[in-house]
Symmetry: C2
Subunit: 161 residues, 2 copies
């Protein structure tokens, strides 16, 4: 599907209009990206945090399926195109200054994380207690939903050190 | 409170350790920042999307109250220090490649947005329908929780065009 982001997005004329108006006028950063926060529509769980460029954002709006911009591969990334774990967007919101997008989605297959877990956020840390050494993480998911080797084969791991 | 981030955060030695290990080894970007996604612990609602530097992250862990780094003011930002709308962190998670933090919080006073709404994400857009012109936003919150002029006075608005 071809999209024309210029037709969908309005100009950013004033703070009042951006914050209190009804025109979608997103702010992309110096790299042309806007962060996207993706939560499960039913459970509210945070599934992932990604980025969209203007084209990915326009594709998400037009198709109703989450599209991101892969920073490691520098390309549009239709989530689920490889894994089948498509994210169907039930609701799409934008924040006060329009520099962040919230996608509330249903996920085919129930997983969103390339490591194989349901959510990318599968480890938590202690808070509000004095730490006098390295913070130790605790896993919140005990089993993977899928085997990443079966799904992605030998595709390069997107995690960068 | 003084904190020593170097003592809390481990090195990023391998992809496997970062993704599957129990050491907190966050990745800060070229500006020394990591994005933080903040949701309401009870409702699951996305309240805001901010950034933390190493010190703000360490302060959040140590105090159990959300601290961010204000990009517009270039300073540590103890959320609620001005408005009283402190965010008490009930759970803090990190993602697979450890370049994003998820804060699940209780908010004193029930609002997190400088415009006065409960959430910064108070407008939604249509998705999955053909758009042949500018996208029109619809408000999802009808009333402000507080009057920003009363709370912030004439402090400069953080929204940038």
């Amino acid at each position: 599907m071809s999209v024309q982001p210029d037709k969908l997005f309005g100009p950013r004329n004033s703070v009042e209009e951006v914050e209190e108006g009804t025109s979608l006028s997103p702010r992309f950063d110096a790299n042309g990206l806007i962060p996207a926060v993706t939560t499960d529509y039913t459970s509210g769980e945070l599934l992932m945090h990604g980025y969209m460029n203007a084209e990915a954002f326009a594709l998400t709006i037009s198709t109703g399926e989450a599209h991101y911009f892969s920073r490691s591969r520098q390309t549009i990334w239709h989530k689920g195109a490889t894994s089948g774990l498509v994210q169907r967007v039930r609701e799409c919101l934008i924040d006060d200054d329009q520099d962040c997008v919230w996608l509330r989605v249903d996920v085919t297959g129930g997983a969103s994380c390339h490591v194989g877990y349901r959510s990318c956020f599968y480890r938590k840390m202690p808070v509000g207690v004095e730490q006098d050494g390295p913070v130790v993480l605790e896993f919140t998911e005990s089993e993977k939903v899928f085997d990443p080797v079966e799904v992605y084969g030998d595709a390069p791991n997107p995690t960068q050190l």
